[in-house]
């Protein structure tokens, strides 16, 4: 692959659980370059969240390896090279909004004044200024998730890993946060790996969509999303948007318009 050094290189990664009884991922190869927004999409149980955790060095692959910023995944984690957002906001109940956002900064030993300044910027970025002294239970689900995103971005990681971050939200909140995420992605210049099972969400957000097959999870197809930026609500109504949605859907169902790799269909058993 030409161009700049990839941020993430996933090299023939396989993962099995329960002493090899369950094959979760099979020989995944994927390179993600700087400034890309790559979505991993697939049915439940295809191992997309597992793959994201392997990139974050939260679980170990059975075979293969992952290189992040030219380092092993473990070294990248130790260097705090990525921020992560989960489906649940995973805010700490005993910390206020401001304290939750500043947690990674405390861990990185930023001094107090610097932390406060950054928390202020982050609150502005996710449009939660004025909520810094609230506790998590006092926020709506969408607001909690915005705090979680602010926390992941607070220490300016170049790589953002997102595991179905909007999966638990209603459709309207999700679409609004999709727009906000793209704006933030544009502002911060980060690289995003985004796990979802919403086709529309993947197409709207991504520069590329990696479609995964069910267990054992493999990358069935990678689809370039050539919708122009900046993307707005109007993007969702363009004919090209629907074409791409259809393309991703067909790839998900194994009967792609393009030639899919062999053995995609048998994975449906």
């Amino acid at each position: 692959m030409s161009g700049p050094e990839p941020v993430v290189s996933i090299r023939t990664v396989s993962k099995s659980f329960v002493q090899g009884q369950v094959q979760a991922l099979q020989e995944i190869d994927l390179e993600i370059r700087p400034r890309e927004f790559v979505s991993l999409i697939g049915p439940s149980g295809c191992g997309k969240s597992t793959l994201l955790r392997i990139v974050g060095d939260l679980i170990q692959p059975t075979q293969g390896d992952v290189v992040v910023n030219g380092k092993t995944a473990q070294q990248a984690r130790r260097d705090r090279d990525y921020g992560i957002v989960f489906q649940d906001a995973v805010l700490y109940d005993w910390r206020t909004v401001a304290k939750n956002i500043s947690l990674p900064l405390e861990m990185a030993k930023w001094d107090r004044a610097k932390r406060q300044a950054r928390v202020g910027e982050m609150l502005e970025l996710v449009e939660l200024t004025g909520f810094e002294d609230r506790y998590p239970w006092q926020l709506s689900g969408g607001m909690q998730q915005r705090v979680s995103i602010a926390r992941a971005l607070s220490f300016s990681p170049e790589l953002l890993l997102m595991d179905e971050p909007f999966g638990a939200l209603d459709e309207m909140t999700r679409e609004r946060l999709n727009g906000e995420l793209l704006r933030i992605w544009d502002d911060t210049g980060s690289t995003v790996v985004f796990v979802t099972h919403s086709i529309a969400e993947a197409v709207f957000l991504s520069t590329r969509v990696a479609v995964m097959s069910p267990r054992p999870g493999r990358i069935a197809q990678v689809i370039d999303i050539d919708l122009p930026h900046p993307r707005t609500q109007a993007t969702r109504e363009e004919p090209r948007f629907f074409e791409l949605v259809t393309e991703v859907r067909e790839a998900l169902h194994g009967g792609s318009a393009r030639p899919a790799p062999a053995r995609t269909a048998e994975a449906d058993r």
Partner: protein
């Protein structure tokens, strides 16, 4: 906190209860060794206040000492079991079994071990009573952390000690305080009942036992009243600390 008006129903129930008690004794001519009148109890409570509160304080110190020892040991044991989970799993069945033992039955034995007049013989009973609820609850608090909370800390390159300090211990605090409230009550019970099996003449439990033996039932009841006031005060003190320590917690409608 509810305002003064909020307490009116509870106060009404209290007054009504006392009136019914008083009225019942008058109406059915209940013998005083079965149930003294509240007014007689209060009068004795006032007349013998110096002795009774002296005894109450003596016993309260035993309860407090046992509470401190038992709770500290319980927290420590929970931390060890949460940090080295196989050890916790090996010990847990015995902890649960030991918790089911009526520990108060050991009071005569601890009196032998530490000496009848040594406050430590009562503290040990109170401490053992406090240990198990504190240990079991705190361990649950330390371990019932969402896996993603831990994953998030690991994504910040946090080690085990940091995860304990920043996630597990704060997460366990509501469980700990629930256990401490139970333990405060148990500590008073342990100290008083321990004294029923013998102890200093200064002790509240000894006073209750002796008064009852000498048919001084008003004194026995007044001493029980002292024990109750101290027990409730202890419980409320812990609740007050809890409110400050857990001010972040969501509170239901009270």
């Amino acid at each position: 906190m509810r305002g003064a008006r909020g307490w009116v129903p509870a106060l009404a129930v209290f007054v009504l209860g006392i009136l019914l008690w008083e009225g019942y004794i008058a109406a059915f001519d209940v013998q005083r060794f079965l149930l003294p009148r509240p007014t007689d109890i209060v009068q004795t409570f006032w007349n013998e206040r110096d002795v009774l509160w002296g005894a109450g304080w003596f016993t309260f110190k035993e309860a407090l000492g046992g509470f401190a020892i038992g709770s500290a040991a319980g927290v420590l044991a929970a931390l060890v079991c949460a940090r080295w989970r196989p050890l916790g799993r090996a010990l847990m069945p015995y902890m649960i079994a030991a918790n089911a033992i009526p520990i108060i039955a050991f009071a005569p034995i601890t009196n032998q071990w530490f000496g009848l007049l040594n406050p430590l013989s009562k503290m040990v009973i109170a401490a053992v009573l406090c240990f198990f609820p504190v240990m079991v609850n705190t361990l649950r608090g330390l371990t019932s952390v969402r896996p993603q909370s831990i994953e998030l800390m690991r994504s910040y390159a946090a080690g085990e000690a940091t995860i304990f300090r920043r996630v597990r211990i704060p997460n366990s605090l509501p469980y700990l305080f629930a256990a401490l409230k139970v333990a405060s009550v148990l500590a008073m019970i342990g100290a008083v009942v321990g004294e029923y099996f013998g102890g200093s003449q200064e002790a509240l439990g000894v006073q209750i036992r002796n008064s009852a033996a000498l048919f001084r039932f008003e004194t026995a009841w007044a001493a029980i009243l002292v024990a109750s006031i101290l027990g409730i005060a202890f419980y409320l003190a812990i609740t007050a600390v809890e409110r400050v320590a857990l001010r972040w917690e969501r509170r239901g409608i009270e």
